[in-house]
Every structure is written in structure tokens, then in C-alpha cells.
Symmetry: C2
Subunit: 203 residues, 2 copies
Amino acid sequence: MSSDERRELVLDAATTVFGEAGYHGASTDAVARAAGVSQPYVVRMFGTKQQLFLDVLGRALDQLMEAFRAAIAGDQEVPLPRRLGLAYFELTGNRGILLCLMHAFSLGAEPVIGPAARCGFMDVYRLLRDEGGMSADEASAFLAGGMLSNVILGVRMLDDYDEDPAVRELLVTVFPEKLEIIRATHPPRQPAAGSRAGASGSR
Amino acid sequence: MSSDERRELVLDAATTVFGEAGYHGASTDAVARAAGVSQPYVVRMFGTKQQLFLDVLGRALDQLMEAFRAAIAGDQEVPLPRRLGLAYFELTGNRGILLCLMHAFSLGAEPVIGPAARCGFMDVYRLLRDEGGMSADEASAFLAGGMLSNVILGVRMLDDYDEDPAVRELLVTVFPEKLEIIRATHPPRQPAAGSRAGASGSR
DNA sequence: GTCGCTTGTAATCATCCGATTACCTATTGT
DNA sequence: ACAATAGGTAATCGGATGATTACAAGCGAC
């Protein structure tokens, strides 16, 4: 397999792993195992874990912005916020992208990740303002909704869908349509705990 | 000094340290140093680092909810969202509280922190709905704004206030008043880099 | 065929970190 | 006086982890 293919493979794996555990919580070994390669290979490909994270972050931002650009260029009949919302929904299919962004956004104090995260955030803001033609208020409101959605994905609120009516109400409000598709895309990781009768019994 | 006083002191320090570096990025030793005690003492007081984080998280949620409750009970002349916004602004004075929440919200996959974070998030949502009398849409919109604010604090966007007009525009939009106070409360950590004339010059 | 490059791994190193143990020092109750 | 208890630390241990080194297999050029 060519190096570039492996590289993409590793970046995909790293996006997932960093998305789940965060920058500090993820190990290069976990990334390597997820990608099916050895740990030294991962660090040699990217130099350092930090550089790997920066590459993951950059790629996530690229994917996000490309999706938004396509939405902006899309069917002008449908209102822009809705087009962007649908683009966001598609991104939702790969939790890793959005969760890595959230982790990066929480690490502003990191000496090199912090500035990169700020720069990436502003790139998105500028995209909405300049290419999307949104006002500052519109862009902020859209970003606010996106941040709430990201947090809901990050905290795995979908895992509690069956546990609590208030969770359902919140999710229906935040994802007014497509919730069922998102639910299907993001299956609970612990077996829903509410499912009675010792499913595959612990112990 | 009594054990309870030390405990609060350590919890304060831990809130700051966890807020800066996140759960995995912070060490019990960093917390201990910030609190002025020894590392073994910190872990003996809380059992494990995880339990310490859970206690920090619980206390942060308590402080958040107490502030919101006070806002709800406040001057009924002024609209509720504004009262809550002012309460949020006060919380902003201690970055650690809000940043710890954000870190927790990004760790939904953690087996014990995740559920605690979900529960805490829903407690806040229910507070807004039930005690605040907000609709689901109103509560979601308020939370969305809060999440964007938290991200902006977490990514330390205020550090770039002087670097980029777009940053100023965004900050003015998200913190339409009190921005100057928040700026004063959250001084940049790297010396603003924009200050001309080779300040302590790189290289 | 063999040189040299690319793609990869096994083994190992050095460090950090959470946790444990053992010990120290006041104060307090009797 | 002197246990007993609370508050606290130094020393250390064991595991995890990022990084480095050395090595090996495939393969195209000449």
C-alpha cells in the first residue's frame, strides 16, 4: 500500500480516536491499532503526536469548510441556514470530525494547538460572513447552534434517548428533523442499560 | 488548616487546572502544586483522579445551577434571558467552572465521567425548563448561546482580540455588553504577540 | 545482482504519572 | 505522661506512553 493511502487511513483512525478520547486522552498506540499499523510507524509518519493532531484538526476543518462551501453554492431557492444545517447533518455522519474540533476548541491554552484552533474557528466564521454573506448576528447564531449540537454529540446524549423523556425533548428540539437518522448513525455504546432482562449479562 | 478548608482549596485549584488542560491533560501533581499541597495528599483526599474530577464537575454544576436559580428568582421586571445572561457573565469570572463543564461534555465516551456529564447537562436543561418556565426552544437557544460562549472562552479567543478585526466583531456579537470587563478578567497569556518591536524576540 | 529507496516492524528507552507505603508532627482526651 | 487521631509529606513503585533505534522485506534502476 502506498504511503499516501496509509496516511489517509491513519488520519481517519486518528480522527476517530482523538474524537473519542481527546488529544491528551488518546495514545499514538491506540491510533496505530485503530489503523492497523504499528505505533512507531504512526509517530514516524507525523513526527509527533502533536503534529498528528494538528493534521487531523486541519483536515477536519477542511472537510467542514468544504461542506459549508458546497452548501453556500447550493440551491438558492432554499434558505441558507437550512442549507448549512443539512451540510452540518451530513458531517454528523462522522462524529470524529466534529468531536476533534470540539476538543481542539477546548485546548486554547495549549501553546501550538490553541492558536491553530483559534485560527480554524475564525476561518469558519469568516467563511460564513464573507462567502455565505451572513451578518455577524446570523453567523454567531448559526455557530451557537452548531456548538450545542457538537456538545450533544460529544457528551453522547443520544445514548440516553431511551432513558429520559427530557432527553428526547431536547434532542427533538435540537435536531428537529433527521433525528432518527442521526440516532441510527450513532448507536449507544453501552447496551442502552434500559433493555430489561440481563442482555448478555454482565458477569 | 482544617481538612475541609484544604479540600475546598484543592477543589478550586483542580477546577483551574482541569479547566486549562482537560481531564486527561491535567496531572494530580499539577493540581497539588496549584493548591500548595503534596501530590499524595490530593489523591488520598479524593481516592482517584477520576473522583477528583467528578467532584470538580459536581461543584461546577452546583455553582452554575445556583447562579441560574438566583437569576430566575431575580427581578421579574427584566426579561429572563437577560437575567440568565447576566448570571452567565458572572460565572465567566471563573473560567475553570465553565471550562471544566466543556471538557466533561466532550468526554461522553468515558465510562463514568460520560454519564455524569450527561446527567449534569440535563439537570441544567430541566432547570431552565421547569424552574425557569422556558419552552424547549427557548432553553435550547439559551444553551446554544452558552455553548458558543464556552467555546470562545475555551479556545481563548480573547487572546487574539488585538490581532484580527474579525475576532473583535465576533466577540462584540457574542458578548454584546460587558466585553471590556470580560477582557479585563481574561488577560492574554502570551504577551499579545502583536506588540511590535521584537518583544523578547523569538530566536 | 546489488545498490538504494520506500514501507514497515520489533525492541527498547526515558519519562511521566497515578497510586501506595511508610513515616512524621501536632493536637487532644484521659 | 501517653495513646490515639487528624493532617500531611517523602520516597517509591508499576504501568502507560511518546519517541528512538535498529533492523527487515519488497522493488525498481542500472
